[in-house]
Amino acid sequence: MTRTLIRNRLALVALGVLALLLVAAAFSPLLAPDDPAKQDLLARLKPPAWSDGGSLAHPLGTDQLGRDLLSRVIYGSRVSLLVGIGAALLAGVVGAAAGLFAGFRGGWLDRVLMRFADIQLAFPSLLLALAIVGFLGSGLWNVVLVLGFTGWVSYARVVRSEVLSLRTRDYVTQARATGVTDLTIMRRHLLPNVLPPLATIATLHIAAAIVAEASLSYLGLGVPKETVTWGSMLADGQLYLGTSWWVAVFPGLALMFTSLAINITGDALRDVADPKAYRR
């Protein structure tokens, strides 16, 4: 398993990027040269250090309120990861539970849950997120909740189909016959088996949620301003592209590479979890 991962050099690079990102998120206060919220209205839109008029005080320049861009990019990693991982965890827990019960119990519960999934799928998730945030108000946790709850379907479907095939295995039927409760069976025998595909979906979902957060911020329905996020930096910076490209480009690059690295890792995970999909 590990060998397959290592063989994939691209995945290694991606993992490196992710490690860097985790470090940046965990140690933002130590790494950032400045307070990401500190404004200097007389030093707005200063270019990066290597351009004319730039200085080492602000290696990547400053934004439209004179805040240090490097510090903001570093702090931005926190929210992006939080939104991504939070949404994936939430969707994973909800989706896995729904999939386990639907698959294992079957019957009306299965039908109801899967019909719910159909309904949910009929709405573009961005539309749903937009409508919910638009009507119920924006905010970091609302965004996490919305992106979490709109993402549960793919988890549920995959878990359900795995469970359907596991249900008839000997060790499950034996456990049932000896009177082990359903919950215990799900926990002991089913959950461990569905974890690998869950991890794959979750990884891809993290990247999707990070991009979705940026999209909501672009539409003005993302997280509050005092929370530094790449999405809102990108949205704010759009206006300044003509004269001060750095305001939008650096958070944009951070977002792109993060999401790319997560997606590549997710692909690699899938290859490990389900070698059939990537026969060599």
Partner: protein, 510 residues
């Protein structure tokens, strides 16, 4: 009046609103940019083309070209004749208007006193569901002769003629509406204005053509096209790629993106849109006048204007903007000083500062964030709560006066150019957005709203502004310039009220 700001476009209006952009589409025959076509960008389409059923600047900007109002503002901001040639107060409750002769609607119908009576009563008729509230003191209109009307009011309304310069002053054709019905009228509006309605496709474009028979002669462009471009960045791109000729209401930062761009010119003209912070004086540390004064000392408005607004705004000392009735030169702005602010906070028992929240529409996000940064220097830690324009206006107009929290950033377009419009919904303690209880202020509002004598009104306004400086129920900020970006083909001088009356705009062939 100030409500407009507040209304649903509150947020939008704040900064981006006007960033319209239009693009004339290369494709549709109508939009083809050619000789004599002027393409104007706005942030949105008009909500309706029935002038009595709309109450927002974006709709008004289009309709002011199709219709005429009884009075108008000239380029220097003075109240001037339009469909009415003169007016006078006949008594406390009667205003008499003499009307222009020989004016016809686009369909040939004659404009006369009956049309004025019909129009004003149509606004007042509950069945019309008009959002226009300026005429709330009007009770009826009587026809004196074919070209003279009397407008009767419940109470004395000293600024009625100014209120008839936009929204409530639009005159519509009675016969056409009676024959065609309201719905058809809204689909194909007919007015007396300098441009005739041609076509409207929502989200695409609205086209007008020159009315050669207008009483001011034929307008400067053969065709006038409005295009909705909600996003300021795309409006700029449309201007740069020659898809529109004129973008107005730009924020200073947006305008800066265009400086030095060949073929595009920037202008700024004095404006009347006035921004301020509304303070909830009923709860928490902000009940203390000294804390509110500290806010005023801390928000360095000149720095804000210089750094964030590129100098394209003017400080407003006490809510009433320069150039409007009631402004008093002798009322000076607060002296901006972080030290004084800290001292006042300490005197009020907050040596370590206070924490609060500052709500704003997300279209005003940048200014709100900058203000929070300025407050922070004095130890006032304001969390910026940015709301989408819909939520913001919902809370602004809610019965719960605390819905936007202790502090919020808002702006009003004082298009009547009268201070009472700025104060009407904010100050008197029984008004919907007021968060200040002061018997003295209530008395002064009554005096300025209802006095017949202009000097009495001015005295009340001056006293009110002094009172607001002592009690500090607001943090008055600035009035924004009207910034417009245009291609070099276009010449146009905007009016101070910010409306897009394009009658005088000229377009050179390429």
């Amino acid at each position: 009046m100030s409500r407009r700001n507040a209304l649903r476009l509150a947020g939008v209006a704040g900064s981006a609103i006007a960033a319209p952009a239009a693009l004339a589409g290369c494709g549709t025959a109508a939009g083809a940019a050619g000789d004599g076509t002027l393409r104007v960008a706005q942030t949105a389409d008009p909500t309706t083309l029935d002038p009595h059923k709309q109450g927002d600047m974006v709709s008004m900007n289009v309709l002011i070209n199709i219709f005429d109002t009884l009075t108008t503002r000239d380029v220097r901001g003075r109240l001037a004749a339009r469909l009415a040639t003169s007016w006078e107060a006949r008594s406390r409750t009667v205003w008499r208007f003499r009307l222009r002769k020989g004016v016809h609607f686009h369909n040939g119908e004659r404009f006369d006193a009956e049309a004025v009576k019909f129009s004003i009563e149509r606004v007042l008729d509950p069945k019309t569901r008009s959002p226009i509230v300026e005429l709330r003191y009007v009770t009826s209109v009587s026809v004196v002769d074919r070209y003279t009307v009397d407008v009767h009011t419940k109470l004395h309304d000293p600024i009625l003629p100014a209120k008839l310069s936009l929204f409530g002053g639009v005159v519509v054709p009675p016969k056409y509406i009676a024959e065609a019905g309201d719905a058809a009228f809204a689909r194909r509006p007919v007015g007396t204005g300098p441009y005739r309605f041609e076509s409207f496709r929502r989200d695409r474009q609205l086209e007008l053509s020159a009315n050669r028979r207008h009483f001011h002669g034929r307008p400067g462009a053969d065709r006038l096209v409005f295009r909705p471009l909600p996003n300021p960045a795309s409006a700029l791109a449309a201007l740069q790629s020659d898809e529109v000729d004129l973008v107005t209401g730009l924020t200073p930062d947006a305008a800066r993106q265009l400086s030095g761009y060949a073929g595009v010119e920037l202008e700024n003209h004095p404006g009347i849109r006035t921004a301020y912070l509304n303070i909830d004086t009923s709860a928490g540390p902000l009940r203390d006048r000294r804390v509110r004064q500290a806010l005023n000392h801390a928000v360095d408005v000149p720095l804000l204007i210089k750094a964030v607004l590129d100098g394209k705004a003017r400080e407003v000392p006490a809510m009433i903007p320069h150039g409007s009735v009631g402004f008093d030169e002798s009322v000076e702005p607060f002296r901006r000083s972080v030290r004084t602010a800290k001292q006042l906070l300490a005197d009020a028992g907050h040596p370590d500062g206070i924490s609060t929240t500052l709500a704003a529409s997300n279209t005003d996000g940048q200014v709100a964030e900058a203000i929070a940064g300025l407050l922070d220097r004095a130890g006032i830690r304001a969390r910026v709560d940015l709301l989408d324009p819909g939520t913001f206006s919902a809370r602004l107009t809610s019965d719960n006066r605390q819905a936007l929290g202790p502090l919020y950033l808002a702006a009003s377009t004082v298009w009547t150019l009268d201070g009472s419009s700025m104060l009407q919904s904010n100050v008197r303690s029984d008004r919907r957005q007021s968060r200040w209880r002061s018997k003295e202020a209530d008395r002064l509002v009554d005096a300025e709203e209802l006095s017949m004598d202009p000097d009495d009104r001015q005295r009340a306004f001056t006293a009110l502004q002094r009172l607001m400086k002592t009690e500090a129920p607001f943090v008055p900020l600035y009035q924004q310039d009207n910034i417009l970006a245009r291609t070099t083909r276009v010449r146009w001088t905007p009016i101070i009220n910010g409306s897009l009356a394009m009658e005088g705009a000229e377009v050179k062939p390429r």
